[in-house]
């Protein structure tokens, strides 16, 4: 009964989150950052760069989109969800309504995921379309590349979002911790030999790209994780982190900020 009530009320929190993430001024900065792939491929096309093709697209998208744009957009949006409500003293409005704390977390996460996918997916598709159009090939020619990047965008947004949301319910300065994890740990772990890279999310995202794209710069990327396994690990990590965030939030107390 309580679960059914939560399900009924969760869309309200989700819509509130979506409106906040996409309907306030913050969306301008996020939109500009998320739009980097389109700006970059558009610039290359306008400049008439001779070597601009689907390989260059991949070579640019992996370090730029996957390791910078995706992490930054998910970090900023996911850490906002709970922490900003605490900092702004608006959380009591939600927590004094008949909806459980885990449902608030779940609904906010759903709103986050919808918002970041609205921000991130169109630029990936747009950049791909620009690349294929510049090459003068059919849009379906390199469908594996598009599928690979869309899969990593969706799964990366989900997993990083859950990670950063979890961080935001356990520490007071989630942005700083998230920056360290997102840009330091995720970069360093991938370069260390052995099994340590498996403790980074980026390893599984790369494994998905390697497994789905036939020809690309990740041909030389060494991994014993298949694309289906990588998907399963990311889904599992997302679910685990989200549940952990819900459980921590359920037991959390909230002092009003002075």
């Amino acid at each position: 009964m309580a679960f059914a009530d939560d399900l009924k009320r969760a869309p309200v929190v989700m819509a509130l989150t979506l409106r906040y993430l996409l309907g306030t001024r913050r969306v301008i900065a996020m939109g500009l950052l998320a739009g980097v792939p389109v700006l970059l491929t558009g610039s290359l096309a306008l400049a008439g760069v001779a070597t601009f093709d689907i390989l260059l697209f991949q070579s640019l998208m992996i370090p730029l989109f996957l390791q910078v744009v995706l992490i930054f957009v998910t970090l900023v949006n996911a850490t906002t969800l709970i922490r900003e409500e605490i900092e702004d003293n608006t959380l009591p409005y939600l927590l004094t309504r008949p909806i459980s704390k885990p449902a608030v977390v779940g609904a906010k996460y759903a709103g986050y995921l919808a918002a970041v996918l609205i921000l991130l997916v169109p630029p990936v598709v747009g950049a791909y379309v620009i690349t294929e159009a510049y090459e003068g090939v059919a849009l379906s020619t390199d469908a594996d590349v598009l599928a690979g990047f869309l899969a990593t965008t969706v799964l990366g947004s989900a997993a990083y979002g859950a990670l950063f949301l979890f961080i935001s319910v356990i520490v007071r300065k989630p942005l700083a911790v998230g920056l360290l994890i997102g840009f330091v740990w995720e970069s360093i772990a991938g370069a260390i030999p052995g099994n340590l890279p498996k403790l980074s999310l980026i390893h599984y995202l790369r494994s998905i790209l390697k497994g789905t794209i036939e020809v690309g710069p990740l041909s030389g990327f060494v991994t014993d994780v298949s694309a289906p396994l990588a998907v399963a690990v990311l889904v599992g990590a997302t679910a685990s982190l989200l549940i952990a965030a819900m459980l921590v939030f359920q037991q959390s107390e909230f002092r009003q900020k002075a």
Binding site: A2, D5, K8, R9, V12, V13, L16, Y20, G23, T24, D88, N89, T90, P92, Y93, L94, L95, T96, R97, P98, I99, S100, K101, Q250, E253, F254, R255, Q256, K257
Partner: protein, 306 residues
């Protein structure tokens, strides 16, 4: 019948800082004023009541239930936080409507109820303005609207008059009184005693995390009046004035701490202030200023806790 709020030996620490210290009190129906100076523990008690904090010790019941993580209890509560932060990017209508939807109300009903609540607090003309454009007083009223829109059984209002302009104060007090008249319970905190005197006689005094007195306002006033009230009088002739005031039977002490100051302690401040002008006029005495270091509630509390 069970009291609306029952707290027994309730304690809450924030690390080394004590929020509540063995607080024991029961609040009945109608309007109850929780009065105490800043930092007394009022907000801590309220946060325990809305389930935002969990007590470290003792028992707390709101409408007969434990409030911690009690989702079912929440539709019976209307809470107005102390801070004025709102979702500034929302209009007042959207704000109240969204929170009503969270109470499980269908969209159309929520819209109608939001409009009614905003009208009740006098915000109809500003209901479609973003909340960030609201003054402090308007924010107080918007907070009150969201607290009562879903027709809760109890309103928990943390300093609802803080920052409100005179017109806003009247509107807020009128709304609270109306809610109580219709059978609702109200628990309202303030650090200014006179604010609450206008709408209720049920008072609980809280200081340093402890409930130090509760009951009828007049009984508490009498309790306060048992403690000498100090008045500092600026006069060039303190000894002459002291001689004249010594005849007042409620004066318990007279002191001249400085050459041009007389400090009087009386058990009946009302009578003292009433009789003083006559005594000064009759004795042709020169009184240049009066101040009471006891004016603040803090001083009253210091008396009560000894």
């Amino acid at each position: 019948m069970t009291d609306v709020v029952e707290a027994k030996d309730l304690s809450k620490w924030y690390g080394q800082v004590l929020g509540l210290n063995g607080f024991t009190a029961s609040f009945g129906s109608g309007i109850t004023g929780l009065v105490g100076p800043n930092g007394a523990g009022k907000s801590t008690l309220f946060k325990l009541l809305i389930g935002q904090l969990h007590s470290d010790k003792g028992e707390l019941r709101l409408l007969g239930e434990d409030p911690w993580n009690n989702v079912g209890l929440k539709h019976r509560i209307g809470y107005c936080p102390e801070h004025n932060q709102l979702y500034g990017w929302m209009t007042a209508t959207r704000f109240v409507e969204t929170l009503l939807r969270l109470d499980g109300m269908p969209a159309a009903d929520a819209r109608a109820k939001a409009a009614a609540a905003l009208e009740l607090v006098g915000l109809t003309s500003a209901k479609d303005r973003p909340l960030r454009t609201y003054s402090r007083g308007m924010r107080q009223r918007a907070k009150l609207a969201q607290a009562l829109a879903h027709e809760p059984e109890i309103l928990i209002l943390d300093e609802p008059l803080s920052g409100a302009d005179p017109v806003g104060r009247v509107q807020i007090l009128k709304t609270i009184a109306g809610f109580a008249r219709d059978g609702g319970h109200v628990l309202m905190s303030t650090h200014v005693l006179y604010e609450i005197e206008r709408i209720t006689e049920n008072i609980v005094l809280i200081h340093n995390g402890k409930g130090i007195a509760s009951g009828n306002l007049h009984a508490i006033r009498a309790l306060i009046d048992k403690h000498p009230h100090a008045v500092r009088i600026a006069t060039p002739t303190p000894r002459d004035l002291a001689k004249a005031l010594a005849s007042m039977d409620h004066v318990v002490s007279l002191e001249v701490p400085e050459p041009d100051v007389l400090v009087v302690r009386t058990r009946q401040p009302d009578a003292f202030y009433r009789e003083l002008p006559g005594i000064v006029a009759d004795g042709r005495l020169d009184v240049r200023g009066l101040e009471s270091p006891d004016d603040s509630l803090e001083a009253v509390f210091r008396y009560l806790v000894g």
